[in-house]
Amino acid sequence: MVQALILTGFGINCEEEFAAAYRLAGAEATIVHLNQVLLGHVSIHDYDILNFPGGFSFGDDLGSGVVLANKLRYRQTPSGRTLLDDIKEFIANGKFVMGICNGFQVLVKLGLLPNLSGNVTPEVTLTHNASGRYEDRWVRLKVNPNAHTPFLKGIDTMEVPVRHGEGRLVISGADTLAHIQDKALNCLTYIGYDDSPTDVYPHNPNGADLNCAGLTDPTGQVFGLMPHPEAFLSLYNHPDWARRKRLNRGISEEGDGLKLFRNIVEHVQGQRAEAVPQEASQFSS
């Protein structure tokens, strides 16, 4: 079974729906307090996908995600390594990292996204929404057709809620901006009713540069986004579910967000199938 590790503690608060998403997608999800990992009781290497959920880690007091990113970078486990050391190794092993909302902020502040340089240093930032306020509202996203990450395979557009006060992606420097676009790391874009990217509030809820809602690293293994796909696992999460159901009695009871989790779980399953074809054939013969 595909193993998803979901970190919690210190104000993270979307771990349950994150775990539910993986379970509905056919994976096994384990929720673990960050200190369990930092104290060496749990190893991330026993898992396939490492997940940073949304919430308010350390209250977002120094800027969202900052204190948690700092902990990952500097706090040493009993073996003298930092969790960032382990995460780099985890990614080098071909495994996957996902961050949603506050988790995305952590990956950005840590430098795992977009990580153009490969040195894991912060290159862009996420800061206060242009509206100056926290908001919970539903938005529409378009997947960058050139993005290459298994998380978004086969998805064109999706609806999801945003729930944040610091989701405005700021990319300083034309070079960084160009590199991100060239490599199609800006994998998700806020769109209006006509499906084209928009900087118009509230369709673009925070004023993000490139109207960007999510990033991948150049490998496509690290993926983060501000909106909450794990909050749209069933039709009944959508604000207009009742009318849509009336319109179409046979409408699927699955939400748009679940697709993303199915994608990554299937991808990992596929990787495994590829990795052990000979063994499998030996058994079957």
């Binding site: 210190f10 104000g11 993270i12 608060n13 979307c14 349950e16 729906e17 539910a20 379970r23 509905l24 307090h33 200190n35 104290l39 919430g55 308010f56 350390f58 209250g59 007091d61 120094l62 800027g63 900052v66 204190v67 700092n70 902990k71 500097y74 706090r75 040493q76 502040k109 912060p122 862009v124 930032t125 242009a130 509206s131 100056g132 926290y134 908001e135 919970d136 509202r137 539903w138 729930r163 300083s172 009713y193 118009v200 509030y201 509230p202 369709h203 909450h228 909050a231 749209f232 696992l233 009944y236 999460n237 604000p239 207009d240 579910w241 009742a242 009318r243 009336r246 319109l247 009871e253």
Partner: protein, 1020 residues
């Protein structure tokens, strides 16, 4: 190395938008008329921890600085030459500083040192620079009104050449002084004065009872044996005052009331409102439920929250409380501690560790556009509104609990004391480590563990302070600030510890602090020994009595078996929750408090909990003189409807709702606003319990203070019905309709009334006010009996008056009914918005000539006389029919009728998608009554054309066909061959969305125009 003070300042880089600075400049101009010029906001961290220059530099640049956004200044307060004035906003000693603590966490991680995060070493501040050279008085005013609160912040202001910094002193020990207070020989006046001076909030009779206890030979003998002097200690009197406070003891709800109806001459004596109308009424409901095989009522009125059974595996826990007085003097702090404090109630019910599912909040404010003169220390209603809203945002969002339902009621009489009702629903397994989760068991020798935050002077006297009216001298120490992050850590810890069986039971430290929590737990084992020197403090100088009654937040008291202690403490260390062993339970009948072995308090538990003298109060009812007004006969009803939609009590609350996370946890099925536009208001929230089943809970709130001006009985009955019908509207079912149907209902009652104790000079209309309370309670009893719906918990707040400058502002008698009911399958719930063109629109229920107290009359400055009345039998029959119709999926949309009546409900039902409706009214009542009467127990529903026959057959005369849903986006109402209302629903929605609430909180015009487009987008 010496602990010298270092500083790190973060400044936004040139060219980075300074939203905060801009907002401060704008607010100063708009609200205070001050021209500041450009304002720059900067963050300052003062570090009182030994670090080298290199460490300070690296910490600042690698941990605090965002390289994209910030420049850093070390050991200096840097500013551009263009600025002329400064304002520094620091926190007073001991005030929660989450930002400082987080920075400290980061420093500990950075240095890889076990830096104790429970003692503060880093202090966060905001430093603002202003372009204009303003006098100190203006700067101070700006600081106090816009940037902080003088009760929690220290401000330094002045010309930029003379910046003064301020940093609170760090933690340390207590001041072990316990004083004696002699009561012997004091005159009645002196006793009363002593109570007033020390904020005991005890009356003469109660002070005399205390004196009598100390004078009795038995007490004297006991005290001698325990090594205490004859006179009471300061701590003992504080404990008695807290335990006997109205807040904790509900003395007025327990009093004997002599009630007289001046109209009929009828007289009666009520032996406790609580016993007669609440406890006994619920016992009768429970009897009926059980007789019918419905035994889901598990715990009522006896713990921090009520509990009902969802299914054989789990319990639903529900609690609603108020936090009015603190919100009046510090709106943000009052509201955030209100919601966090209320969260602790379900968390600490039974053994503890319930999983919090949702929050609700109902708020009552004065008009935010008030432009008169404020009384001394009265805050502007707008400021209270904004502060409370922000407090609820941070309290809920940062705890990861969705705020799914609420209401905001405006009335000028809430301008002195706002009402802030906070509710929390939670789920708890029936069994925790093999024990019944809802039971609280404690044995002698069990350890007392304090978990969570540290103790400071914050919140001292909260319990007694909330039991008296507010005036201009209200104490600063009663203010507290919440730390959602500290509580989240404690919450995560409790969840795990209870499931591992490490905690025998828990309770929260709210009003009254340790004194209240340990005092109450100790009744289970019959005694406790508390060692106060062990209690960790935020800063030095607290005396033992202060430690014991402090209401510092985010704390729980746990009872732990000695054999489990080690494992529990280890878990606390792992999860970074501070746990302190502060004593043990006993069975000797005494609350025994010590400091370093020396006695501080030694009180007989029986006296403490049962010794308060019972009050006898007088009530007199006289129906008000009221009459129906004569309004013009040629009213333009399109205009009336438009004005109603833009009125304070009806207009959209979207700007507030969207700043609350209403869907974290991914389980919210009916949110406050729904539809393709996200702007259709709903009647009740629906939340599913988990991801494995479709079972859920509907949540509603009923509150109708306006009707109380005509008759408090009908106001209370109406509020109860409003909450019931909102749940029926979304597809809930009444309880006990079938044997063993297991549809739980759980209701909290919350009474907030003005001082209702008669006093010939201080409160001359006290008897009338008390009569209103009696009538509210009578309606409550009748409603619970009629619907067979039980109360499970509740609260009363009895002194909601604000006095200053010789003026008293009293709230109107207010009751909130907060209801929850089981939903068997959330997929079958109903939302309020129209779903499809050609669906047929019906009115369910009957309209009466009941415009009294309506929003319609309010538009014309009239009250009227015909207050809406609830006809319980008819209502129950209709609600049962609706439940049956929903079983056959006959209803496509359902919206209950409330403020503004039928016309407003019809308009709101179009807001989800941009449909229109064509409606004809044929009733015999006046057109105004048909459109705007607020008669209870009614709904606007739509029915698919193919279901019309079955629907009409099912409802018979209870349904009135009104018309059809249309695609043209027009709301048309005809009457007697004339079109009486004709409006584009997009315009109606625009007016509703641009009402005063969204204007005050500031939903930008751009935002509104864009969302308005979505209606055409939706249909096109």
């Amino acid at each position: 190395m010496e602990n010298i003070l270092r500083s790190i300042q973060l400044l936004l880089k040139p060219g980075v938008h300074d939203g905060e600075g801009q907002r401060v400049a704008e607010a100063a101009r708009r609200h205070l008329g001050l021209r500041t010029g450009r304002v720059q906001s900067t963050a300052v961290y003062s570090v009182r921890y030994p670090v080298t220059d290199q460490q300070l530099h690296d910490f600042a640049t690698r941990c605090l600085q965002d390289p994209v956004l910030h420049d850093v200044a070390l050991d200096e307060l840097r500013h551009e030459p263009a600025f002329k004035s400064y304002i520094l906003v620091a926190k007073l000693p001991g005030v929660t500083d989450d930002e400082g603590i987080s920075a400290q966490n980061a420093l500990g991680d950075f240095l890889n040192q076990p830096l104790d995060t429970h003692t503060q070493h880093i202090f966060s501040k905001r430093l603002y620079f202003l372009e204009q050279e303003l006098p100190e008085s203006s700067l101070r005013r700006l600081a106090e009104e816009l940037l902080g609160n003088k009760l929690i912040n220290r401000f330094e202001v002045g010309p930029i050449s003379q910046i003064r910094d301020y940093t609170p002193r760090p933690g340390g020990g207590a001041e072990s002084i316990t004083n004696l207070v002699s009561l012997t020989g004091l005159s009645d006046e002196a006793l009363v004065q002593l109570s007033k001076d020390n904020l005991y909030a005890l009356n003469l009779e109660e002070m005399q009872a205390v004196r009598a206890y100390y004078a009795s030979p038995e007490t004297q003998q006991e005290r001698q044996a325990a090594g205490l002097p004859t006179d009471p200690t300061d701590c003992e009197l504080e404990i008695v005052a807290q335990t006997w406070s109205e807040h904790c003891k509900h003395k007025e709800f327990s009093a004997v009331i002599k009630y007289k109806d001046l109209g009929t001459g009828e007289e009666k004596e009520i032996d406790s409102l609580f016993k007669t109308y609440i406890k006994n009424a619920t016992a009768e409901v429970d009897r009926q439920l059980r007789a019918n095989g419905n035994d889901w009522l598990i715990k009522v009125f006896s713990d921090n929250a009520g509990a009902v059974r969802i299914n054989p595996e789990s319990l639903f826990v529900w609690k609603v409380e108020t936090h009015n007085s603190p919100s009046a003097i510090d709106p943000y702090g009052g509201a955030i501690t209100g919601i966090l404090g209320n969260n602790r109630d379900p968390l600490a019910t039974g053994i503890g560790g319930a999983q919090l599912l949702f929050n609700t909040n109902v708020l009552c404010f004065g008009n935010p556009e008030f432009n008169g003169t404020l009384l001394t220390n009265q805050l502007h209603p707008r400021r209270i509104f904004e502060g409370v809203r922000k407090g609820i945002e941070d309290g809920g969002n940062k705890s990861g609990i969705p705020t799914v339902n609420g209401a905001i009621v405006f009335d000028d009489r809430y301008a002195g004391k706002p009402l802030v009702y906070c509710g929390t629903g939670a789920v708890m397994p029936m069994q925790l480590a093999g024990l019944d989760s809802w039971e609280k068991k404690i044995d002698a020798e069990d350890r007392i563990i304090m978990a969570g935050g540290r103790v400071g002077k914050d919140g001292i006297h909260g319990a007694t302070f909330s039991s008296i009216e507010l005036d201009e001298t209200s104490p600063a120490t009663a203010v507290q600030i919440g730390s959602p992050i500290t509580q989240k850590l404690a919450m995560d810890f409790l969840m795990i510890a209870t499931r591992r069986g490490l905690i025998k039971c828990s309770t929260d430290n709210g009003a009254g602090g340790l004194s209240s929590s340990i005092g109450e737990l100790a009744t289970i084992s019959s005694g406790a020994v508390v060692e106060l020197e062990k209690v960790p403090l935020k800063y030095p100088g607290l005396r033992p009595w202060e430690i014991f009654v402090s209401e510092s937040q985010e704390r729980f008291s746990l009872a732990v078996e000695p054999s489990k202690l080690e494992e529990l403490l280890a878990l606390g260390r792992e999860m970074e929750v501070e746990l302190t062993d502060i004593g043990y339970f006993t069975a000797d009948g005494f609350l025994d408090v010590r400091f370093d072995g020396a006695p501080v308090a030694h009180l007989n538990m029986e006296f403490l909990h049962d010794g308060v003298p019972r009050k006898t109060l007088e009530a007199e009812w006289q129906a008000p003189q009221a009459q129906e007004p004569q309004l013009a006969t040629d009213l333009d009803y399109t205009d009336v409807l438009t004005r109603l939609l833009g009125s304070l009590n009806i207009c959209s609350r979207e700007s507030v709702i969207r700043q609350y996370d209403h869907e974290v946890k991914g389980r919210t099925i009916i949110k406050p606003l729904m539809g393709a536009t996200g702007q259709a208001p709903q009647d009740a929230a629906v939340v599913r319990f988990n991801f494995e089943s479709w079972e859920g809970v509907a949540v509603s709130n009923g509150i109708l203070p306006r009707f109380g001006d005509l008759d408090a009985y009908h106001m209370s009955a109406g509020a109860f019905d409003e909450a019931v019908r909102q749940i029926i509207s979304v597809g809930g079912k009444l309880p006990n309709l079938a044997p063993g149907d297991n549809i739980f209902w759980s209701v909290n009652d919350n009474f907030c009334v003005p001082d209702s104790v008669y006093d010939p000079t201080g409160n001359p209309d006290g008897k009338q006010k008390l009569a209103k309370l009696v009538r509210m309670c009578e309606a409550l009893r009748d409603a619970t009996a009629a619907y067979c719906i039980p109360l499970t918990s509740g609260k009363d707040s009895m002194k909601n008056d604000f006095k200053a400058d010789g003026v008293k502002i009293s709230v109107p008698p207010t009751v909130l009914y907060s209801m929850t009911a089981k939903i068997e399958d959330v997929r079958h719930t109903i939302t309020s918005d129209f779903k499809q063109a050609d669906d047929v629109v019906y009115l369910l229920g009957e309209t009466y000539d009941e415009l009294g107290g309506s929003e319609f009359y309010q538009l014309f400055g009239e009250l009227g006389a015909n207050v809406p009345q609830v006809r319980f039998e008819q209502a129950k029959e209709l609600y049962t029919l609706i439940g049956q119709a929903n079983d056959q999926a006959l209803i496509q949309s359902c919206h209950d009728l409330s403020d503004g009546g039928l016309a407003v409900a019809l308009a709101e039902a179009t807001f989800g998608y941009g449909f229109g409706a064509e409606v004809e009214l044929k009733g015999e009542l006046s057109l105004a009554a048909q459109l705007f009467s607020e008669s209870h127990s009614r709904f606007v529903v739509t029915v698919a054309p193919e279901d019309v026959v079955a629907f009409e057959q099912h409802f018979g005369t209870r349904a009135t066909r009104l018309g059809v849903v249309t695609t043209d986006g027009q709301l048309t109402v005809k009457h007697a061959g004339q079109t009486v209302i004709s409006a584009a629903t997009a315009d109606l929605r625009y007016t509703w969305s641009n009402g005063p609430v969204n204007q005050v909180i500031g939903l930008g015009h751009d935002a509104l125009r864009n969302t308005n487009e979505s209606s055409t987008g939706g249909l096109g």
